[in-house]
Subunit: 407 residues, 2 copies
């Protein structure tokens, strides 16, 4: 088998952990597999590099910023390769540029265009373990780029797709995908199997196991994914395309890094929402939920959520928005949380939404916004009630009693 | 003018110093020059990276070791470029690989084969300040290499040669080339001008201003060199090819990192020295001074010096040497120092050697070995007498009274 393994920053957070990861890789190799390993930067390295840059400039030029940040993974791949050699195994480490991960020139958030697999295949054929720096690539001109959020996961999935790997294992600091965040919902359970659409919705709804970008990539190229812990011996969670006995609900996610924005007294004429959100998009702010209220006297209210970190930027264009759409006022509220229930079974089960609302109503938890997709129901509640809401929903849908056998 | 500037690790040792270096570069640029800057890794970065590797392996694979070490300069070039942007100047930073510094595949001590200057020239023509990582290059296969000792100096000189720069300025933490080490000889004086052969001999004799390798390169390609301080505004020392009014002596150097090795009762037959030193060379140990005594009863004594750090390796092949050349014993002495006087004027002035011996004899300083070149006289003395010897010679040759006008 050809296996792509990805180890995140926590998994290679210090020398001891790098040695452990090396042992785990050797185990996979010893089982007769070809192994390609994607590694993130060690623990806080990236943050420390950012700190250095910020001491010089509030707004460093992006090309040089990427040149700086990419050293983080270069250090970890070199150390991991040294650790494998020390265990007596032939390994070879490549930066994104060396291995030919061709990207766009969008520094700090480059997109992968193509991967030249010839170098990797050549080294694999010599029996070597190939280590590739995650999160980074190179432009056609030879400039080093980074891939932005979820970059290392994306590198791993893209490599697995390009190499037609039999499996892509994402190693992290938790056992796999859980029915909810175990720090918030005490009886959250690890899932053995999950549908890729559910993972995507869970990831977008705040579950931090896999970056949505990597999941979309995996779905598009049909890359078989497994999420596992690098610290424990557990099967992890296998992510599958179809899932015959789909549960109604497989997970409850809580997202606390969003803020609610309310735009008051918006003239209810066509094209107003487009105007509003194109102004927001220009600032590269990602809008998550959007709810437009019904019109009263020709005026309506628009509610939406954005990442809290983007509030400052949003406030800086407040006057521009006001004069553009002629609303009366804009109110910001960062004391909210988004609670979502996700499950492919929703498609065939009616009444899931009603049950969600009932459970929250019976506890007097006020729902401030609702947004649904085919397999997800998200509600905005007060931050201080989010934990209670998540636990109640987790219990109501009997997620702690899940029993799924892996094939 | 096209100016190549090289800043060492101390000069970019922290964020404040990087900002200062940026200001100095801007000053040069503002005077209407094209500027190419070569930078070493910040302060202790390289040592810290080495420490990480050594925690995993006593003998890390060299290719991966170079991949690791090269991140040090990648960080400093990115930060310096950010600092220049912050001052409002267009700058672009390149790693050795990006800029096309082609080297041999001798990892950890690669030699520069060729430099592709097209990228640099293109950026200079756009008015940009070009920053290049010192100490590193790339093989034809795209593997990252490092150049070993004196690497950043060599990068700067090689770039200056390839670009046909008008001058190559080596910035360091001292004002220039001194008549002796100011920490040892209190009235040592900075030289305004020095002959390149003298710098070469001084560098080899232990003066730490410029690496001999870079000096040889500069001599070969006739690169005009200046050594200056990055902390002070001083003209520095200009290194010239010819020097009309050459002084008899321009410098006294002290080298304390060598040990003396004495091989006893060596059969005085042809080819014995060749046998001995080829065994030593096989271990990649650099022999500095060699003195063979006169023969007595068909047996002679060979004395030589090697770097102290290589004593362990040398001792490990002691039995091999003994059986190869049939000597009676080998004695090691690491309590010595080499004191050298250097000057092109020696060529035309007789009696310099005699004066050196007299000065030391009058103070009862025993000379254990003597080695001379056309422009250098080196003597081995007890370590504890080295400081006194250097000061006495410095005084005798009136080096503190030097008055040289720069043109």
């Amino acid at each position: 088998m050809l296996i792509v393994q990805k180890y995140g920053g926590t998994s290679v957070g210090n020398i001891e952990r790098i040695k452990n990861v090396a042992k785990r890789i050797v185990k996979t190799k010893e089982q007769g597999n070809d192994v390609v390993v994607v590694v993130s930067a060690m623990g806080d390295t990236t943050d420390e590099l950012i700190k250095l840059a910020k001491q010089i400039s509030e707004n460093p030029p992006k090309r040089e910023y990427d040149l700086l940040l990419s050293t983080g993974e270069q250090i970890s791949i070199a150390l991991l390769s040294i650790a494998l050699h020390e265990l007596g195994y032939e390994a070879i480490a490549f930066t994104g540029a060396q291995v030919g991960i061709l990207t766009t020139t969008d520094f700090t958030e480059a997109k992968i265009l193509d991967i030249n697999t010839s170098k990797i295949k050549k080294e694999l054929s010599k029996g070597k373990i190939v280590i590739v720096a995650g999160f980074q690539g190179v432009t056609e001109d030879g400039d080093i780029t980074t891939l932005g959020r979820g970059g290392s996961d994306t590198t791993a999935v893209a490599l697995a797709a390009a190499l037609k790997a039999d499996i892509c294992e994402i190693y992290t600091d938790v056992k796999g995908v859980f029915t909810s965040d175990p720090r918030i919902v005490k009886d959250a359970k690890k899932l053995d199997l999950i549908n890729i659409d559910e993972v995507l919705e869970l990831a977008s709804a705040g579950a931090q196991v896999l970056h949505p970008r990597a999941v979309i990539f995996a779905k598009k190229y049909k890359v078989p994914l497994v999420v596992r812990s690098s610290f424990e011996d557990d099967q992890g969670t296998k992510i599958v395309e179809e899932f015959m006995e789909g549960l109604v609900i497989t997970g409850v996610a809580i997202k606390t890094d969003e803020a609610k924005v309310t735009v008051l007294d918006v003239p209810d004429v066509p094209g107003i929402a487009a105007k509003l959100f194109s102004e927001v998009a220009k600032e590269k702010i990602n809008v998550n939920m959007i709810v437009q209220g019904t019109s009263r006297n020709g005026l309506s209210e628009i509610n939406f959520t954005v990442p809290k970190k983007d509030l400052i930027t949003l406030k800086s264009i407040e006057e521009k928005i006001k004069s553009s759409i002629k609303c009366s006022n804009i109110i910001y509220d960062d004391n909210i949380a988004i609670v979502s229930v996700v499950g492919t079974g929703m498609r065939s089960h009616h009444g899931v939404a009603a049950k969600v609302f009932e459970v929250l109503a019976s506890r007097g938890i006020n729902i401030e916004m609702i947004s649904t997709s085919e397999i997800k129901i998200s509600v905005v509640v007060r931050m201080e009630r989010a934990e209670e809401a998540a636990n109640a929903l987790h219990k109501e849908f009997k997620l702690s009693e899940i029993e799924i056998k892996t094939e």
